[in-house]
Subunit: 362 residues, 2 copies
């Protein structure tokens, strides 16, 4: 995804001779090899001003090599474990100041690595490495969003009295896979009072008359993720439900308007302010504050930079892709969440998810 | 899962006043709350001689509290972040020697935690915490295995000319979910030469005459995992394929026989030796050495202690649940893997996966 110049500039800015990358999504991003498991430590990547190296076990060496032709693959074995192989490279290439992902490397890994080499290791977070997407990445996320829109339309006919949350989620996942993609995270289907739990675990609850139906799901296609939430009404919503739905939708709209206005004025789009505008619109109407962030960046991971939260210090700029997902949750009663993905291209806010958001009775 | 006595003994043996637990599966195990995401740091758990505490964010506090009634929930906020809350508890309860999972805590977390409190932190791996299962845990794994057996039988009819790997995997996943469970990891379906890559990523390859069909999948049910691999022949196998299939099956049988014999003689079952016996049976017949471990423990995670590998230092004992999964892979040609789960109960080896292993032409 990135050219050598970018990596060279990164090292120069940080005063580093090399950067040791350990988080699997950053390794994929920097190597274009997507085969390593996100659940195990299958590999490390080292980049210098001139070279990239992948340290991995024999199980991955052939495949990683075939897909990352200009990267040197160094295989670790029982007698040549990773810290030893890394130390050899650092010594041979006279690399002394090495950045490492301090928010990813564990204490035991750090001790093993640093005890094998006299090199100096410098804490260097890469949590903003992938914040700005190039057009081909945005296109992939857009494709994932389109698959999500089609899948949701396809399964809407199954939302009827008696269907269980698990059955509906299974049909949605099956449809996503039939369309050549995968769910990007475990699909959330929440009926009735389950919708009041933002991270509800889809269960065997069956749909009853007047229940709210909250669906929060994403698609991973060509390694890039989408994320979308919709809330439907099985039957006629009450006056209060209508008001809550309108409030959530307006909250999203307020955040969008702030972004559009800022872009039009060429002024910075403050992620913390996006969160605050959506959040305060809801609390000012007497509803409880959103118990989660208003949004998040998305790409190879469902949650990545920029965070759109009360503690965010990012500005949202050209090429970033992010969600805006306000919600109102009445404990033990019901919840409403509406989530869409957006990007900024050529100075304009573009919405990527396209499923309708007007209040729908099913 | 564990009584207070066990935790007290653990602390006493390690000379600790408390243990800080960060890995999500250990937190679930010690709290019986399974709602935290395995992909984010949603919570920490601290256990002392007298108490357990969960530190989490507001999103999880209610649900965790309702499902772990005797655990104190401490919510972190912007002004009261986790390290501060932890420091308060340690100070109030006069806890000085604190174990932490050095193979899980990141460098940045370690620095934040240790700079907030004068307590002394001691590297303490919990990677063997869950190695021995109680009967109710084994029953859950057995149930997951049964669902896997049923699902595989159900989808066998779809293994026919022209079906794609992805379509078959999707049908298998759909069937697993219809049975009320979930895949425990991304289902591997590998046709023809794809079967020569042990961790092949299921793709759009379609099934051709004389192709090998390798399926490696697992089920998660009631939080516990199964794992099973089967290799079928679409049409008549060649003489060489037959020999390889028989060699892999015999390799598994040799490992099983060593375990049974050791148990009968009341002698220790050496995990490294289980690996070696299966591995050497294959290399002695002129085939390449297995490019992965011969087996692994399984439970809340698909891969957990004990490892059954050349570097394992564990003995396999009563209540452990583990796979034996030898394979032969001919690069660019085809591969055969057979994997079953076993446990030891009342001093006897019991096989948990039950799908037939005799050579099957489809």
């Amino acid at each position: 995804m990135l050219d050598k110049k970018f990596l060279g500039t990164f090292l120069a800015n940080k005063g580093l001779d090399a950067m040791l990358v350990s988080s699997v999504h950053n390794i994929s991003y920097l190597s274009s090899y997507f085969g390593f498991s996100p659940l195990e430590r299958d590999a490390y990547l080292l980049f210098t001003h001139d070279n990239r190296y992948i340290f991995t076990n024999p199980l991955y060496s052939h495949e990683a090599a075939s897909q990352s032709s200009d990267i040197q693959i160094i295989v670790h074995t029982k007698n040549n474990p990773f810290p030893k192989n890394l130390a050899t490279i650092l010594s041979n290439k006279k690399l002394e100041n090495i950045g490492f992902e301090n928010d990813n490397i564990t204490v035991v890994e750090y001790l093993k690595i640093t005890s094998a080499t006299p090199a100096h290791f410098i804490a260097t977070s890469l949590d903003h490495l992938r914040i700005t997407k190039i057009p081909s990445e945005i296109q992939k996320i857009k494709n994932a969003c389109e698959i999500g829109d089609i899948a949701l339309t396809t399964i809407k006919k199954y939302i009827k009295l008696g269907v269980t949350e698990k059955k509906l989620a299974n049909l949605l996942d099956f449809t996503i896979k039939k369309l050549g993609a995968d769910p990007s995270f475990p699909t959330i289907v929440a009926f009735g009072k389950n919708s009041s739990i933002p991270h509800h675990h889809t269960d065997d609850t069956s749909l009853k008359t007047q229940d709210i139906v909250l669906i929060d799901f994403g698609v991973r296609h060509d390694n890039y993720c989408s994320d979308m939430s919709r809330t439907f009404f099985n039957g006629k919503p009450t006056k209060k439900q209508k008001d809550i739905y309108a409030t959530v939708l307006n909250s999203q709209h307020k955040a969008v308007t702030y972004i559009k206005d800022s872009l039009a004025k060429n002024s910075p789009v403050d992620a913390e302010k996006v969160d605050r505008i959506a959040r305060e619109y809801i609390t000012q109407r007497g509803y409880p504050s959103i118990p989660h962030s208003v949004g998040h960046g998305i790409g190879l991971e469902v949650h990545e930079a920029p965070p759109i939260s009360p503690s965010s210090s990012d500005n949202i700029g050209e090429g970033m892709v992010f969600s805006i997902e306000p919600g109102i949750y009445l404990e033990g009663k019901f919840g409403v969440r509406i989530e869409d993905l957006y990007t900024i291209q050529s100075g304009k806010l573009i919405q990527l998810t396209q499923s309708p958001v007007s209040l729908q009775e099913i």
